[in-house]
């Protein structure tokens, strides 16, 4: 058996309350590595076309990877996937903290939650044993209260993941929360968990994770830990974390401001890393084995009320700060804490509330419609609306269905500034005049997210008007970044501290005994990329180029201010970018993998779906 893994697929049927374990196929380890790779592979078999994302046939999949829990910087990552209630297609999300190693130590490489319980439960997994506790009395509790309760009831050494009121009330962008501040944020994985009436999953694992060569793995780990702490990027970045990029983002005109109306926010200095460190942060808070923790714990403040929270990260600063017209870091931290406690994805929540603020300011929706005046800059109004969303009250109920749905329901032309791709709210980069970043958002497999491909510096460094090399760059990033999600570790030592990504190759053989070159690892990523494309193709009628679509704002309006004022691409230019991308990927003109490409990648089993439509 290939070592470096937990060992088993654990299938839990919430309807019958029966659990069964079977060894994870060895072939999967070679072809998909783990994490996102196992998620994608299992997704194809387990979730059939026609499945209702909120029905019992949908499955919530969770998988650590071979690098999870290793003594290399930042190995505490867990990948999750399900058919998304927000987009109707492939949905996934990645969560830090300490849960992934615990699952692995419990002997699990893939957790499948299927069916639905009649009554709310907490699923308790202790090594191989699965039991259920009645969660009715705390079904509506906040995420923090639930995790605290379970730590007290079970023991502080247990790892807990929970959903909050947002998921319970069917918000399509509800997240799964863990370790008081880590989330599987996007695509509504929390909503799927709630649909199965699972309030929490508690895990304790005490087994060794077997390694091919322990001493060599340890030696590689010691070398890497040492190296990452000596990177110049480490010293500059670590005190501040991801907020470090705020001044750069605003000065380059890529910081989403007031519902992506522009990319520059006056007062961005009040949102930057040093300001956050001075006004919010109390301690660093790190995932498993992380030498460079991005996590910052501290208190948000709004009108004298304090709220402890982890963050806010750049994304939350963008979507809950500049995008809402708020430039007070303490208020942003407070709103981040609100989202965390309610179990809302801060990116989607900030995006959809910003849309409602623009609707209010432009007169499409009144204070009566919305429940209150929703001006940009009004943090109290934002907080109140987050609560309305999480509890399904008033207009919050409509917003809780996502910005695409809300704009469709309201109409009146508000769809023009509903900032989503494929029904997933766009994250923190204003990309209308950045061709590689625009392409990244259009082709990201889950919708408007930046995690697969972050190409903003590439656009700025090589020219925003220059289209050459952009598709190549996006494709390369879409293979390298999600590779970490398949390996089960964090990309920040590379992305943020400047470690050479190829230095990760040195671990695969001592951990698993399998040899991969860097290019062979990227081939696994290409396989996974094509598989997730085919998954969405199978589930979404008409899926293809039409879904790789920018919001109208991005091809109709330029920014009012900033370095790219007045500029945007045309529909023809977007099509040009997509044409280049599809050609390089070996996809049809409609953006579907050809049978040849699928066969080449060992995805022949997907080919009938490609050819019969």
């Amino acid at each position: 058996m290939i070592p470096g893994y937990g060992g088993n697929i654990l299938r839990i049927d919430l309807t019958s309350k029966k659990a069964s374990a079977s060894p994870v196929p060895e072939q999967w380890k070679r072809e998909y590595l783990g994490g996102r790779g196992f998620i994608a592979r299992a997704f194809w078999d387990e979730i059939q076309p026609g499945t209702d994302p909120l029905g019992p046939e949908n499955k919530l999949l969770m998988a650590p990877g071979p690098y999870t829990g290793q003594f290399l910087s930042s190995s505490g990552k867990l990948h999750m996937g399900a058919l998304s209630p927000a987009t109707g297609g492939y949905g996934d999300s990645n969560m830090g903290g300490h849960m992934s190693l615990e699952l692995k130590q419990a002997g699990i490489d893939l957790l499948i939650l299927e069916g639905a319980s009649e009554t709310p439960v907490t699923v308790v997994i202790e090594n191989g044993k699965v039991t259920y506790r009645d969660a009715s009395s705390y079904w509506n509790d906040s995420t923090f209260d639930t995790e605290s309760r379970l730590k007290q009831e079970l023991g502080e050494e247990w790892q807990i993941m929970v959903i909050g009121p947002a998921a319970v009330n069917g918000v399509v962008f509800a997240c799964i929360q863990h370790d008081f501040g880590r989330q599987a944020g996007r695509t509504g994985v929390g909503t799927v968990m709630a649909s199965k009436k699972v309030k929490a999953v508690a895990v304790k694992g005490t087994h060794d994770v077997k390694l091919h060569d322990v001493r060599r793995t340890l030696a590689e780990g010691e070398k890497m830990m040492d190296k990452v702490m000596k990177q110049p990027g480490f010293t500059a970045w670590q005190p501040y974390g991801t907020p470090e990029v705020v001044p750069w983002a605003s000065s380059q005109g890529v910081m989403p401001t007031r519902n992506f109306q522009t990319g520059v926010i006056e007062g961005f200095q009040n949102l930057d890393g040093p300001t956050m460190k001075a006004k919010v942060t109390e301690i660093d808070k790190g995932c498993t084995s992380c030498a460079i923790p991005c996590g910052k714990w501290g208190k948000g403040v709004l009108n004298g009320r304090e709220k402890p929270q982890e963050g806010p990260e750049y994304e939350s600063i963008a979507l809950l700060g500049s995008n809402l017209g708020i430039t007070d870091i303490q208020q942003v931290a407070y709103l981040n804490g609100v989202c965390d406690e309610l179990g809302l994805d801060s990116i989607s929540a900030g995006n959809v509330v910003a849309w409602s603020m623009e609707c209010y300011e432009k007169g499409f929706l009144s204070a009566e419609d919305l429940g209150r005046p929703m001006e940009f800059g009004n943090a109290e109004a934002a907080s109140a609306m987050f609560h309305d969303i999480a509890y399904g009250r008033g207009f919050g109920k409509i917003l809780g269905q996502g910005v695409r749905s809300a704009a469709t329901q309201v109409g009146l032309g508000t769809e023009r500034f509903a900032m989503h791709v494929k029904g997933l709210e766009i994250s923190g980069y204003e990309a209308r005049y950045a061709p590689a970043m625009m392409l990244s958002y259009l082709t990201c497999d889950i919708g408007g997210n930046h995690s697969r491909s972050w190409a903003v510096t590439f656009d700025v460094a090589t020219g925003r008007e220059n289209f050459d090399g952009k598709a190549e760059r996006v494709i390369w990033l879409q293979h390298v970044r999600p590779l970490f999600d398949a390996l089960g570790c964090c990309r920040f030592p590379w992305v943020e501290a400047g470690l050479d990504p190829e230095s990760y190759v040195g671990f695969i053989e001592p951990i698993t005994g399998m040899s991969f070159t860097w290019d062979e690892l990227l081939q696994v990523s290409e396989r996974i990329w094509n598989l997730t494309r085919m998954i969405s193709y199978r589930h979404i009628p008409g899926f293809g180029r039409a879904f790789d679509n920018p919001p109208p704002r991005w091809i109709e309006e330029g920014h009012e201010t900033g370095p790219t004022a007045g500029k945007h691409f045309t529909r023809e230019q977007v099509d040009d970018l997509l044409n280049r991308y599809y050609k390089l990927r070996g996809w049809t003109e409609d953006g579907i993998p050809t049978t040849e490409k699928l066969e080449e990648l060992g995805l022949g089993f997907c080919a009938p779906a490609a050819s019969c439509k």
Binding site: T235, T242, E244, Q252, G428, T457, V495
Partner: protein, 77 residues
């Protein structure tokens, strides 16, 4: 007077000349912004600049023999 300029992080791949520290010589004091432009990069492109390991603004004027390190924008995730 002269200063050395080094580039760290992923911007290095777009500026291969700066893989090795460059020496920039000038006859009168220059701002950090001017020095960055002198090595062929837009002054706003690096996310921050260290002068002798201390963070400085673009209008800082280095002294003879100072070492500048230009840091690449580090992704917000």
């Amino acid at each position: 007077m002269q200063v050395t300029v080094r580039l760290e992080g992923h911007l290095r791949e777009f500026f291969p000349k700066l893989h090795e520290p460059q020496t920039v010589a000038f006859t009168e004091p220059r701002t950090v912004a001017e020095i960055i432009e002198a090595v062929g990069m837009a002054a706003s492109l690096p996310s921050s600049v260290l002068c002798n390991k201390q963070r400085v603004e673009r209008d800082h004027m280095p002294a003879d023999g100072d070492e500048l390190v230009l840091l690449s924008p580090l992704a917000g995730g």
